[in-house]
């Protein structure tokens, strides 16, 4: 079996995989802050979206090479064994597949092949949106009548959700500029002003600086927020597409975000060769 077959064999399975989460809200009425649902707290996804937004069967590693009888882990990740393998997922993309333009799909595949060199997560770069949401670490929402702010444990990323539109973003950024408003009981966040440097996942799914993300946060139970993100980027995709997933409240007593300043952890990767006495491979 070739690498390509492994990566895309699951495509047919996933059309029905994503659940219409917003529809599950039923008659639940969340507690209120200034008349709007209270989304305060520490939340985290529980899925495989950060490995690959699209449905996929398990594979031996993120970085693969062809072995004599099928794909095997690439040399730099062999030592990780099962820890480096990719868990399977039915996918979080509505309709199953991301609607790439043909030339953009070729670049996505190239990204995937060069994952170790190119994935910004590996270098602890700010994760962008929506990836910050489903990078498998918790984030905290601070909400009151006028403010909405999210701090992410991964890389200490932050987002100030402007509840009053400050106008067009003056400069592109990794996390974009977020402007929120309430659509009934759903917080809608319009995110623009992205640079082209973040990815959506470890599978090389990417975007250009024309990216526009619209997120919807709907609290459907005391411990669940239904999350959706609609992604538009005419440079890369043939049409807007949507991902959806639940955000779960972390249940641990005294749960809080801890330090994950990974900048320090990637210094050996990025600067190790320039030590006076390199530590070697």
């Amino acid at each position: 079996m070739t690498i390509g077959k492994v990566l895309f064999a699951a495509g047919a399975l996933i059309a029905a995989a994503t659940m219409p989460l917003a529809a599950q809200s039923g008659t639940y009425r969340p507690p209120r802050i200034a008349g709007k649902p209270d989304l305060n707290g520490i939340w985290q996804t529980m899925n495989e979206a950060n490995f690959d937004l699209e449905g996929h069967i398990a594979r031996p590693a993120m970085a693969l090479r062809d072995g004599p009888y099928g794909p095997v882990p690439a040399a730099p990740v062999v030592a990780l064994g099962a820890v480096g393998a990719v868990p399977p997922s039915l996918g979080v993309v509505e309709g199953g597949e991301i609607p790439y333009k043909p030339e953009a799909l070729a670049k996505k595949k190239e990204n995937q092949k060069n994952w170790l060199a190119l994935d910004p997560e590996i270098r602890c770069y700010l994760p962008g949106v929506p990836r910050a949401t489903y990078i498998p670490q918790p984030f905290r929402i601070f909400q009151n009548a006028t403010q909405f702010f999210i701090t992410y444990q991964f890389a200490g990323a932050v987002r100030n959700i402007y509840m009053k539109d400050p106008g067009p973003p003056p400069v592109d950024s990794w996390m974009g500029q977020s402007v929120g408003h309430w659509d009934g009981d759903t917080l809608v966040v319009d995110v623009t002003g992205f640079n082209d440097s973040t990815w959506f996942d470890r599978a090389g799914n990417y975007h250009s600086d024309a990216l526009h993300v619209v997120e919807r946060y709907t609290r459907t139970s005391p411990d669940v927020i239904a999350y959706e993100a609609t992604i538009t980027d005419p440079n890369v995709f043939t049409r807007p597409w949507k991902i959806s997933m639940p955000l779960y409240r972390r249940q641990e007593k005294n749960e809080q975000l801890l330090d994950f300043k990974c900048v320090e952890f990637v210094e050996e990767l990025m600067y190790g060769p320039y030590r006076k006495k390199p530590l070697g491979p």
Binding site: N144, Q147, F149, V263, K276
Partner: protein
Amino acid sequence: MRKLFVAFTGAAAMAALLMSTSVPAAAQSDKTETKKYSPPRLPDGHPDLQGTYDLATITPVERAQGSPLVLTKEAALKLETQRAAQRERADAPSDANRSAPPKGGDGSVGAAGNVGGYNSGWLDPGSTFTVVNGEKRASLIVDPADGRVPPMTDAARKRMMGGFARQTSDAGERADPGLETAPGAYDDPERRPLGERCLLGFGSTSGPPALPDYFYNNLHQIVQTPDAIMILTEMVHDARTVRMNAQHLPKQFRFWLGDSIGHWDGDTLVVDTTNFTDKTRFRGSTEDLHVIERFTRTSAESLLYQFTVDDPKTWTKPWTGEYTWPATNAHIYEYACHEANYALKDILKGARLREKEQAEKGATKE
């Protein structure tokens, strides 16, 4: 608009005379009221401390030996006017026909002396002395009364003589003249200042204690909920969460900015921070650093920020400072430091190249 981050040059220490600016929008008021002011309140009844604040001030942490805490209005105005004039000179257009600087720099310390760094237009070091209780202050430190950080303990002095002395969270952007002579200063990334590594903003901007960095990017934002209060530092987007009415985590949980818990003392937010990493090293402190901060709204446009710093392993007694945080309408933009930190690699590469050249010349290795 605030100055956006420009990748560190490492050699971009700026001359002190650039440390001046024109009067900002949120100019400090001489009429700071602390007596009968009734702050706006949130639904939980506590004062609303929220907003964006510009911590820039020209009041230094310490003041000259023997000088008073309070500047006369005339003295303050004279110094502020001098700074403004310096700033105006620094902001003047440069001569397009000037010749190139000498190869390797002109030998002087700072940006003009080596490869060049920030033009004055990039800087935002503050333009006025901080005003507390209507007084123009000559130092942030109010205790000890002489406005000086107390003497270090003998043990701390010995520690500071060690090889990692420069790696402190308060190291300023100006601290590196660009050509350090300390042995091994360029051997490893871990030897470089925390700001240069994009681990923390320089000058203890994040704190705690959060200090003016006397350079740029002095904005902080506070978002307040009953259970947790978030204090964002513009530089390196460091967000500190103050857990209200909570207990400190066990000692094995360490944070670059410490573990902050808070409670209300009347209308003052009191934040107690411990559990620092042994790498934060505020002014050479140990991981036993203990900081108590007090945030009090003093007007619609300002907070009073007070801090007490204690570490018996570092200082012979605790010390306390205070200054006003003026509110601003400025927006905080993304300070993506690490993502554009080409300089750290180039600084190390440059050192390796220099060693190679020196070896080839048969010169003595450093």
